[in-house]
Structures are given as C-alpha cells and as structure tokens.
Symmetry: C2
Subunit: 327 residues, 2 copies
C-alpha cells in the first residue's frame, strides 16, 4: 500500500523531479568549490524534494504556466537544506540521510557558512520571481524557523513540554516552510484570496502531519531506512508527540523512568526497549498516527474548495504519503 502510493506519486512527477534535480545543480553557483562540496553533500543525498514539488503542483493547480516554475521551486529546497545544515551543527547530529552529517566531514564553521550561503541563495531566487509577496514570505518564514529551532532548544530535556508547546515548535520549524511552498505557488499564479487561503491551509496541515510522522519514525523505523539511529531525538533531549503523549498516560513509576531517560543522553538500549514497551501499553504510536491523519484530513478538505485538476489529485496523494512513508 505504502509502496504503491509512493510509486504512483513518483511516476506522476518523475519529469518534474528530474528537472528540479537539474535546476538545483545549475542554480548552485558559488565561486568557492568548498561551498559546492558542502552544499552538494546534503543537497544530493536523496532528499524527497517535497517542498519544490508542493510549490510546482500548487502553482499549476492554480493555472500558472511559465517554465521558470522549476527554477523558482528550488528556493524552498535551498532554504530547507540551509536549515538542515544549521540544525545538524546545533544538534551535533552524527548522521543525516544515511551519511555522516556535513559538520563532521567539513567542520562546523564551514557548515554554518554554507548554510548562510544557501539561505541567501534562496532569498535571491525569491527576488527573481518578482513577486513581493513571495519575498516577504520567504524572509518571514526564515525568521520563524530560526525561532522555532530556538524554541525547541529552550525546551530541551524539559519533561513538562505540553502538546501545545510541541505543536508550536512543529508549526515554526516545519509547517511554515511547506505552507510557504504551497502559498508561493498560488501567488505565482495570481490565485484569488480564497484559493490562496485554501492552499495555505493545505500546506500548513500537510507540514504538521509530515513532522508528526517524522517524529513517529524516530521510534519505529529501521536505522537503515531512516538514515540515522532511532531514538536520536530523545537522546538529543527533543521531546516529541510519542513521548509527550506517553508521559500523559503513564503511571507514576513509568513517568519517573521516562523522565530519567529524558535527562540522560546515554540511556541504554534496554531502557529504550522498555520505553517502547510502555508506549505500546498506551498505544502511543497509534494515537500519534491518528493525530497525523487528522491533519491530513484537514489538508485534503482544504483542497475541496478548489476546482479539480490532475495536480489536485496528486496533492491529495501527497497528503496521504507524508504519513504513510517509512523514511
């Protein structure tokens, strides 16, 4: 089922994905070879190109025809990768997409600066669209994402993090970028305010569902498929929905066990197994999946107000895919 959905989406957008890949390569024109190397290390390591795809499909769904679309859509992949580079330095992450994180290969300083370069590149492409609303949006979400990441840091190893705090972080860190990718597509097409609003709701909810699914994978995926060790979030002191929900449901003994794990980045494999058992008791993963699916429903509902096109159908399936994926 998952595999079928993935295959279907990938075959429908194969041309676009290929063009995005070429554009990502061509637009990356630093004068320093080192920047090319560091940016390439993560840019061409199997990203899903979800953000460019969202922009492309939303733009076409709203009637945008220009061939510059592929070029413009790279801005959101550059911005995404810029934040990944900075986040990996900040989290001192070991791996990303099955490879050593860039800062371990090239150094933290070099990685931060390449992130800055990509961030600027993204805003330069926003400028090329000639649409002031897209430029403002790109700048605004960059401010928002930096603060979202900081908010997450402020709450590191805080066992009292609420579901509401968590959603605020998800919103700032992840959802705004997908929302902006979708909105920018609609803005390019000069969509009506009503359609822009629907596209925006779609993007925000797909983004939220995506991050919840991502956070679930940190407790369920196989390391090989995930491209990093499972349980990495908890080791880094990042509390996500599976743990927040489990803490709410757990009895006092379980709570104190989990709270100790939250404070200890070197918890044992046995402890992690035990945590997974407690999660199973309360069906925490099931709860989180149902939450993610509720956001998918909201996303799909938002599309209902927009006349049906082939892109429309694909956006429907992408909403399903973000929670059905295993990587």
């Amino acid at each position: 089922m998952k595999q079928q959905l993935k295959k279907m989406i990938l075959s429908a957008v194969a041309d676009e994905l290929e063009q995005v890949e070429i554009a990502l390569n061509q637009n990356l024109t630093p004068y320093l070879e080192l920047v090319q190397k560091i940016a390439g290390h993560i840019l061409f390591s199997g990203g899903k190109r979800l953000r460019p795809l969202l922009m492309i499909l939303c733009a076409r769904m709203c009637g945008y025809k220009s061939e510059s679309l592929i070029h413009y859509s790279t801005m959101f992949e550059y911005l995404h990768v810029a934040t990944l580079l900075h986040d990996d330095v900040i989290d001192q992450a070991d791996m990303r997409r099955g490879k050593k994180a860039a800062h371990h290969v090239f150094g933290a300083a070099e990685t931060v600066l390449t992130g800055d370069y990509l961030l600027a590149k993204s805003l330069a492409i926003a400028g090329e669209t000639g649409k002031m609303a897209i430029i403002q949006l790109a700048a605004k979400i960059t401010e928002e994402m930096a603060q979202g990441e900081l908010l997450q840091m402020v709450h590191q190893r805080n066992p009292n993090l609420t579901e509401q705090d968590y959603l605020k972080i998800v919103q700032s860190k992840t959802a705004v970028l997908m929302q902006a990718s979708c909105e920018s597509g609609a803005i390019l097409a000069d969509a009506s305010p009503d359609i822009l609003k629907s596209v925006s709701i779609y993007g925000k909810n797909v983004g939220t569902a995506f991050q919840i699914a991502d956070d679930i994978l940190d407790y369920t995926a196989e390391t090989k498929i995930l491209g990093k060790q499972i349980g990495a979030d908890l080791r880094e002191g990042k509390l996500t929905l599976p743990v927040i929900y489990t803490l709410q449901k757990a009895n006092t003994t379980e709570q104190s066990f989990i709270e100790k794990m939250i404070q200890n980045e070197h918890f044992s494999h046995t402890d992690f197994e035990k945590l997974l058992e407690i999660m199973a008791t309360y069906n925490s993963i099931g709860f989180c999946m149902s939450q993610a699916e509720a956001y998918v429903d909201k996303a799909r509902n938002a599309l209902k107000t927009i006349p049906e096109t082939s892109e429309h159908q694909l956006l429907y399936h992408i909403a399903d895919f973000v929670v059905a994926r295993d990587y």
Copy 2:
C-alpha cells in the same frame, strides 16, 4: 585631529544616529525573548552604525526624501550584526566590542540561530523597500559574505597568502556590505546609472579602506579602546596586510620567525613584541596606512562627479574617518 573629525561627523549626524538607534530597537520584534536578548547583546554595544549612515547619506545626496529611510537603513546593521554573530562563533572569538562574545554568554547554537533571524530580518526589510534591485543586492552580498568568510578560513595559517588573496577576502567580507549600503541609498532615490556607479565606487573603496584600517588596529591599538586583545587576528591564523607585507620585505631569518608564529596560536607576548619590531623595521604599518589612504582617495574621487550637497561633504569626511579612527 582624529578626535575633531569624529566629533564633527558625530554632531552632524546626531539626529540620524538617534533615529537609527530607535528604529533598530523597534524593528527587532522576535516572539522569543531569547532572540531579543542575544541580538541586543551585540546590537546595542556601541556599534558605529556606519552602514545605516552610508545608506542614509547616499540616499539623501541623491535626492531621496521619504521618512522611511531610517527604517530601511536598519537592514544593513542587522545584516552586519548577523555576520558578526556567525563570525564570532566560527572564529571562537572571546570578545567583541569590549564584551564577552555572544556565544560565550548564550551558547554557540543560540548565537547561530539569532544570526539567522537577523539575516532574515534584514532581507525582510529589503523587501519592504519595494525595490527589486535592493532585494537582489541584499541576497547577493549575503552569498558573497558567507563565501568571503569561508575563503578566509580556507587560508587560515597560510603563510603564502598574497596581497591579492587578501584583497579578495576584504572585498567579499567587508567592502561589499558598505558598497551595497551606499548603492541601496542611490537605488531608493532612483539615481541615474552614472551616479549609482559613482556611489558604488565610493562604497567599495571606503569599505576596503575601512577593513585595512581595522586590520592595522589589530597591531597598533590599545586593548581597552579596541574592545578586544591586540594580535587576536594572528592568533586566529588570519593573515592581514601588515603581516603579508612584512613577510614580503623580511629577511629569511625574520620570515621563518614569523611563519612559526603563524602556526602557533599560543605565541608569547615577547614574540609579538619582536614581530612589532620587525614591522617597524620595514615601516609595514606606514605602508598599510598609505594603501588605506589610497582607497580613501579613490572613494573621494568617485564623489567628485556628483553635485555637492551637505551629505556629500559628510561622505567625504567619513571616508577620512574610516582610516583615522582608533577603534
């Protein structure tokens, strides 16, 4: 003489400086208090506000009258401070403007993210100008500055760094920002291509002179006035004009002494004194000052093609000031 020049400039632009200070405070509206704190730590620690001033004076010289000018001019101070925050993390600098560097007070990750926030803020304000050329310029120089800093890193502790390499770094790291501040002022005023070109040459050369003067101060200033230890550049492995020139002139024994210092971040105070003596033998500081002054001349000459106004006079004096300052 120096003090008089400084006093004269400061009294002529006292109103503008006060308004810039207020705008810098008002425009800084993160939702996280921590961002406000970290940004404020460096933003309000006695910066010269040279970049906003250049934009304001160039805009007015070219006939721009809108009151939004002060607001717009903050974009270059935010961008400047964003790069300072990232540079301090990258250089692992101890002090900045007489205070502990932000990353020592707030942490490296927090400082990187606040830099990202300010970078985005700067580009958001560029967007508010409604001038596509300013937006493109801001994005382009941000790419350039990130690469300039990387280029400097690549050449860290490289005793074969040439004067040309050095000037390329100065250009990318520092001059482009002052050049863009000046150009943006002219763009706001819809200046003719000829005038824009002159303003651009002025900015580029003032920026180059400024950085050479800055690099001289690292060998001549008093720590208390400089706000950081002298010799810090060399300890960090940054070769600047005074050392590059001295290496060119020095005999083999002196060269090998200096090259050893370049490789050793823990060189002694006695070694540093000896280096200053070698520099004195070849009048290295005198040579660097004459280079800086040549850039000042180029900057002043560029202004000659522009009709004289009161701002014109001030820009003349600012060009002198950047090499005459002692901090």
